[in-house]
Symmetry: C2
């Protein structure tokens, strides 16, 4: 190691899902939306005054923040907008988990939680999901420095009942409880109504899944105005202007198009329910997903073998080698009906041709 490397913070980075560039690929590996963003984006883009790009954007991203506040029926002081929910979550970890007590999150969950905790030197304790991959609310009743739970959870797709979420929030009134609702628009019950009752609740959502806008990197937090201001203060100490002008303008246009939003998520939920029936026929088992993906395992076919066979056929899904408990599962994003028909048809053929060998 060279002398200048001594003071360098060394981390093991999060590895995002593959982003193959060929357009022929069926991409079911990063939980993107198969439908294009709202048609209102094109209009908003043509209305942009390009000359104004020479100026800094509005640091409060007011136009975007107001569109979110209006959609969810909260005040603009209750909204924080960031560069994807990852930015909103990173700022949340930095701001809200500032103690020596360990924060709590599930052992099987979004793998970035651990990465942020390591990066910011926040102690943590993972709480094991039960045998069916459900969160046990009683695990979150012990002394802690904060709680973060995705609902629905990823990569399982399981949505805990709102009563259990409320129990966890209520039992932890002295710390911040973050409910990561990246996948809530696909059928789960949002914790939004609890915001009126609990000051320690922070909800995270994103434009990347249900709003078909992963390419623009917009996520947001909903919480009590004091908590949001603390997070804003940290954000202003990190980077005053994070959302660029196009994200602000186009994001607001997307948020205002409720009709298109409902159309797309309904189609994805319909397709998901159809895929569930087909996957049961194929012999897969999986938790009852309320997200835009399924988390599947098969008694005869190893996940890694299926992953490779699918990839060779130009169908990308996600396989996590760790933790071991989920190493025989695949996370498969719900694409268009046509894409899912291709997937099912490939699996049908592949599995009947290879069944004898695998058994």
């Amino acid at each position: 190691m060279k002398a200048w490397e001594n003071n360098i913070r060394k981390v093991i980075p999060y590895v995002p899902g593959e982003q193959p560039q060929q357009s022929s690929v069926i991409k079911l590996n990063t939980n993107e939306n198969p439908y294009p963003p709202s048609p209102s984006v094109e209009k908003a883009l043509l209305g942009l005054d390009l000359d104004l790009l020479r100026r800094y954007p509005d640091p409060s991203a007011s136009e975007l923040v107001c569109s979110i506040a209006e959609f969810y029926g909260v005040t603009k002081e209750q909204v924080f907008a960031g560069v994807g929910s990852d930015d909103a979550l990173a700022m949340t970890f930095l701001t809200c988990f500032h103690s020596n007590q360990p924060i709590l999150f599930p052992d099987i969950t979004y793998s970035f939680y651990e990465v942020w905790a390591d990066l910011f030197r926040i102690p943590y304790q993972k709480q094991a999901l039960d045998g069916e991959f459900y969160i046990r609310p009683e695990d979150y009743a012990k002394k802690n420095g904060g709680v973060i739970i995705p609902n629905p959870n990823a990569p399982t797709g399981i949505c805990q009942p709102l009563g259990q979420i409320e129990e966890i929030v209520k039992n932890n009134s002295d710390v911040i409880v973050v409910i990561d609702e990246a996948y809530i628009d696909f059928g789960g019950d949002s914790a939004l109504p609890l915001l009126k009752k609990y000051e320690n609740l922070l909800i995270v959502q994103t434009f990347s899944k249900s709003r078909s806008f992963a390419g623009m990197r917009i996520g947001f937090l909903l919480g009590n105005p004091d908590l949001i201001r603390y997070i804003q203060d940290c954000k202003y100490s990190f980077n005053s202007y994070t959302l660029n002008q196009t994200a602000i303008t186009l994001g607001a246009a997307v948020m205002r198009d409720k009709e298109y939003f409902d159309q797309c998520r309904n189609r994805i939920m319909e397709t998901r329910e159809w895929v569930k029936t087909k996957f049961l026929e194929l012999g897969f088992s999986f938790p009852d997903s309320m997200a835009n993906f399924l988390f599947v395992t098969h008694p005869q076919f190893a996940a890694e073998t299926l992953f490779m066979a699918l990839k060779e056929a130009g169908i990308y899904v996600r396989h996590f080698k760790k933790p071991e408990r989920i190493s025989n599962y695949l996370r498969i994003t719900i694409g268009t009906r046509e894409e899912m028909e291709c997937l099912v048809s490939f699996l049908n053929t592949y599995m009947s041709e290879n069944r004898s060998e695998s058994c």
Copy 2:
């Protein structure tokens, strides 16, 4: 304080310059470029495939990174792109200044350095500029955890000779020396040629000033490939995808238009030299700026009084109340020739009408 507020990290945030929304204002307070971005932006925007915004952007921002590497004659492994130079700098502080030794930077400089150091709990020692606001290279020869120096410095506009910068880099081979070149394109000598000789050198630049692209939030680092990879690893642990698709595509278009870039910065430098002659006639004194702003003081008129009078006349400039040593200075961005003529003409009238009172 409520129970949930105990674990909250509380910071005093950086306060960005005012962003008045009225278009009639002459805005000389945030060092933006008075000319619109390259005409290539419109073409690039019309070529965007909006359907693809449903997908995550390329996490390595390869198109943008390659355009930067090509412009500066380095490899793409030597380039890190961020959400403005603030993001690039925040990641640099987080990654490179990870020790118990204090980092060193000037006492009068970009006020965000102190904010990041506080946010990440990095110890620091400010080094006083000399009586003429120059950096004394010998101040940076003591034991430290890293060095950051803007060249030209802000808000003074002073550019230290490259030999002095090399001396500082050379004397600190065991830590990272960051040269913040946000304003280098307005006549200063970049440290770029030193990159071949010194592995501990990191250069920061931005699209916000010389490239008229503050609204898109793009900044970048140039350094040795190992150092860049360490910073990338931290960035991937913070937010995998920071630059959205429009920033990547439009940023690359801007970087490739060298002719327009040269035209704009040359016009700004010409205007700056003209303003210098006029400000001398008005009785101001100021360091010999090599940036797109002047840092001026007047023996008869208090900076704060001028600041208020200008604001009332719809001309926004920047006045820093702290540190006290610069509280009688104004930082004035170089706008178009017409804007600067308005400013000079207003000051001419105002100062002749108010001279007797002020003396």
